[in-house]
Symmetry: C2
């Protein structure tokens, strides 16, 4: 590629020397430590300083997004070393780009004076993104230095949740008066010290800052200087409200192929601008976190969090899981007498439970995706429920039959085989029903349908699998 | 919002009447059927025609993306009715927007003449996207009517896989000569019959169609007509190759905040353009499918596929799951004698297995996300492995202790309690190790780390959980 640069190689080639440097650092220090104490201190100091100087130089050459990526792939010690070298003007953007838990961790290890320096160097958009990570007493410290309009803008957005349009929108945009002409807008564009990126259109407002239309750059380019903006603009552009959910905006961006869109308050006043990059960033991190939420982890879980923090974060669901597993085991306990008489039941019962759990999880995964993509409506739930139960009846009959035959051959006991086949069929049907009910009910209750669904479903298929299998056995077999 | 329209409400209000219409249809026909046979035919015909006319009118008012969304949320019968009303020029774009399995299903129920009509009405970009769904004999039928440059473009891209840049890029772009001036480019823009959307920059090529730079619309707007394009353009823009993976391009788009980017072949010639909408569409559907792949389903699984098709699609993993569950149950079978002597072992063993499975799945989910976000490098695997094992040691000690205490109290047997605690600790450590090894190994082997990882992990934690618990019991307890 003579003209273009391959961006993948570029990122790797930018990060590789830093990783090498970080890897070398402790080795060099170890070497230094083997000398006599006085010399050691001097050598270590030199090595350390030189290494840090090189690191600082390398990090300064990276974009905020690259630094964020680098921090996300480093263990705590190295993360701290890199973070300390990030200059304050870049640091705010870095805090914005990393995941929430990484940001909280970084803020936690940053001394107060540096946090204040970072806030001072940040622009309005970055401040809007990072305030929720900061200790309560940091922002008031810098607030007096912020220009009054920015300050009131930040205060107005503070109450909106992290997944709202108000929190992912920006303040930078090009705004023209309703009375402008192509000529005056072009003049305005030429005078801008910095152009908000991406810029595909400019917002048009009336005397009261109310959005009255949008004008694309292409329209500007292809019309004569004297033409009035009001005649050329789109008078009914797609606009969002700051309290709308970012997820909804993401779907609209995708469907309508938007690059940017204005955000207006209840009175129709222009308060900000959403762009496709923020929206894509949101979609990407939201989608990546869904799998974690199904397993009962926070979607923002930091892979490199300290061991104790990570261990404790899993306690809630571990205790829920232990409780459900304990309850399921009580079902077995109730049939201890039956198992004592026919120990092969203990051998076969986990098969019934396991197959139920796995097929149920398939149904859950399908329904969570369907709900996320809005493919499932109240109207289609009965159809889909019939379909999934139909699928489980077919698969229960076919594979229950197979396992029934295997059990018959293994234990030379046709009655046990028939029991196995029936229990599998019933547990698969149950798994399908629970796999539909759990996500649909969670959604109706306004909860995240993914959160912990895996543990809940396994509880149902385990305990009911044992109940069906052992219950039938004690009734008909023993 | 006086100026903007709320896009969410707009979509709902566009689709609602169609859903109502579809819901009414069968009822009206049922009514018609209750009349005498001759009248019935006439009434049904009228009802049907009126309903379809209304439906056709409503569907014509929708964008391709809206129709695709509508089709994705309809059961097969209704999907067919709606699909038949979609006019051919829109139909190609609809096939492009729906998921792969829905597209295959739609093509399967479309008569050949209509498929040919759809291809005839499609533009180059849409044809590039839908060819892989079409029967082999449809495209040659229309190929002779395609303009030669488009035909050779399509043929050149055909070998690239569905997740490559070549398959998600478009052919529509604005290309200027190296020798152009701002004035000549503006003239060219004004003459374009249709503007490729989104348009943030134009590509600049030399006499051999090789990309030499990019010029943003903003630069065009803010410079004098006489200035030469070659002086204003970015001479080293980020460019992609058609055989690069779309996933890589998506990450670069996100990191570099790109709106569009040129695609060049090995000789540096401009062959297409990627835009953020296609990239976002890819990211979204790819992320949504990951959860399905973990459960051993195809990422493109169609929620509304017919029962038989859905049932058979799950057979591969159902049989794998049955096999693994059967193998795990053989472990129990080997200790049948031990269980006969102490039936409480049968009651407690599923707890050991279940907790191992759930925590192991948490580790798997964390590692799959880490690998997807490139946060895990060969260098960091040992650190992360130590960390996850550390977490499992802590949690195994804490919660194994809790369960050991519960088992002691329940069965008044301190030895059984100690056994329970030790088995839980060991199985949690094992779960953590398997939870790391499975996705990392899959990735190293060039496989999708998500695919079927859930079944594999559960196999390991179940069989090893039984082996550890029952093995320790038979050695020390019975």
């Amino acid at each position: 590629m003579p003209a273009g640069q391959s961006p993948r190689e570029t990122l790797d080639s930018r990060l590789a020397p830093i990783l090498t440097l970080l890897a070398r650092q402790p080795i060099l220090e170890d070497l230094a430590r083997q000398q006599s104490p006085q010399r050691s201190a001097l050598v270590s100091e030199l090595v350390h300083r030189q290494g840090l100087g090189e690191l600082e130089r390398r990090i300064a050459a990276l974009s905020a997004a690259d630094v964020a990526h680098l921090l996300g792939m480093l263990p705590p010690d190295e993360r701290r070393v890199v973070w300390e070298q990030v200059p304050p003007p870049v640091a705010a953007d870095v805090l914005w780009e990393v995941t929430d838990q990484v940001a909280d961790g970084l803020v936690g290890i940053t001394p107060r004076p540096r946090l204040i320096a970072i806030c001072r160097a940040a622009d309005a958009d970055a401040l809007n993104q990072i305030t929720r990570h900061l200790p309560a007493d940091v922002l008031p410290e810098v607030e007096k230095e912020i220009a009054p309009p920015v300050r009131s803008w930040l205060r107005a957005l503070a109450p909106f949740p992290a997944d709202s349009v108000g929190r992912i929108m920006g303040r930078e945009m090009v705004v023209a008066e309703q009375s402008a002409t192509v000529r005056s807008v072009l003049k305005q564009l030429r005078r801008l010290p910095e152009v908000p990126q991406p810029l595909d259109a400019i917002e048009v407002v009336d005397d009261h800052d109310r959005l009255v239309g949008r004008l694309t750059l292409h329209t500007l380019l292809t019309h004569r200087p004297a033409e009035p903006v009001a005649m050329l603009m789109n008078p009914a552009p797609i606009a969002f409200a700051p309290d709308e959910r970012a997820e909804v905006a993401a779907r609209v961006f995708e469907r309508e192929d938007l690059v940017t869109a204005p955000v207006v308050d209840q009175r129709g006043r222009l308060v900000g601008r959403l762009d496709v990059d923020s929206v894509m960033h949101f979609v990407h991190s939201d989608a990546a976190s869904q799998a974690l939420r199904r397993e009962g982890l926070s979607g923002e879980e930091d892979l490199y969090a300290p061991v104790w923090t990570s261990a404790k974060r899993r306690w809630l669901w571990l205790s829920v899981n232990l409780l459900t597993a304990f309850l399921a085991s009580r079902v077995i306990g109730a049939f201890a007498g039956t198992i004592e008489q026919l120990v092969s039941l203990a051998t076969l019962m986990p098969i019934v439970a396991s197959v139920g759990g796995n097929t149920g999880n398939q149904t859950v995964a399908l329904f969570i995706r369907g709900l996320a993509l809005k493919q499932i409506t109240a109207r289609s739930v009965p159809y889909l429920a019939r379909k999934e139960v139909g699928v489980s009846l077919i698969n229960g009959a076919v594979w229950g039959g197979v396992m029934g035959a295997v059990a018959t051959l293994l234990y030379r006991d046709p009655a046990l085989g028939a029991l196995m086949a029936l229990a599998m069929l019933l547990n698969l049907v149950l798994a399908a029903m629970v796999g539909i009910i759990v996500p649909v009910l969670m959604q109706r209750l306004g909860r995240d349908p993914a959160f912990g669904s895996s543990v809940l479903l396994t509880f149902a298929t385990d305990s009911m699998g044992f109940l069906i299998f052992l219950g039938l056995a004690s009734a008909f077999l023993v």
